[in-house]
Symmetry: C2
Amino acid sequence: MKELEDRIRRDGTVKPGDVLKVDAFLNHQCDVTLFNDMGAEWARIFAGKKIDKILTIEASGIGIACIAAQHFGNVPVVFAKKSQSINLDGDQYSAKVYSYTKQKEFPVIVSKRFLTEGEHVLLIDDFLANGKAMHGLIDICNEAGVVIEGIGIAIEKGFQRGGKELREAGYNVASLAIVKAMDGDKGTIEFA
Amino acid sequence: MKELEDRIRRDGTVKPGDVLKVDAFLNHQCDVTLFNDMGAEWARIFAGKKIDKILTIEASGIGIACIAAQHFGNVPVVFAKKSQSINLDGDQYSAKVYSYTKQKEFPVIVSKRFLTEGEHVLLIDDFLANGKAMHGLIDICNEAGVVIEGIGIAIEKGFQRGGKELREAGYNVASLAIVKAMDGDKGTIEFA
């Protein structure tokens, strides 16, 4: 998606350690006009698929998923939680995920009430790198018996293995920008 | 806002300990049609105010704020973070907040790049109870020198002191549903 690639080039920052900072428009400050265009693009890509629900993960996925849902007939958005809360009770699906950016393991939790066997689900997240968080969501989907219709990603780090593994496993992964290479010292970025 | 009150009555659950669970439509599963109507209502209430930016706090505020932003000319949404990340670097505004639902203290962090002195900001959050999280956002706004044009809340627990204190301090607080009383044993709820 050219608009997203252009925006990453303009407002993104490449840092040493394969860090791509896009907090100016994606995951700290949010450009809702861009989110709308991303939602429209996923709706185009997944046109004809039955999507009953969008599943994402807190925190950065939520805004993107909520605006995307407007392009899928206002389906409900469920966001997986990363910590226990007294607001989370009853039966839960849970998976463990290691976060590179937070540098710790965290749980991914979804209440069983919000995933129903046989539902068709679109998974959405802001980043796909090694795929750990997405595999956590997929584990939960499998446990719940829902059908994963596709995976919508804003930015895929194509030089890490997450996207490749998911596609090889048969998932329909739609990454709107795939970073092929980036150089933290020079601050350059190249898209697939 | 009648639609939100009706929805709380229908799909919310009152639990002992003054816990109001609205995870079926507000803060775990998200009803984006309802969010849209909430955004339209805040736009009506804050009509004529200059709003340059919406500031909220992860995680539950994000979806509500992003959809609300569409009713304020697609202004940027900034969400305060509750933990450090390697994606957060450089100068930050930071405040400390105690969360009753998480039962621990957490930081509220906003990068200095995303609040500019003189900007007019609308604060949005899903809940207002004792007001701790909102005071954290306000502290950050004051430090940044932005103008707080108003505070949009989905559900205010009117029997706790947060809303009262904020109004007495002169803030324009627009809570779309104000719970006057609730009974965790009977499961009943009464709106102001």
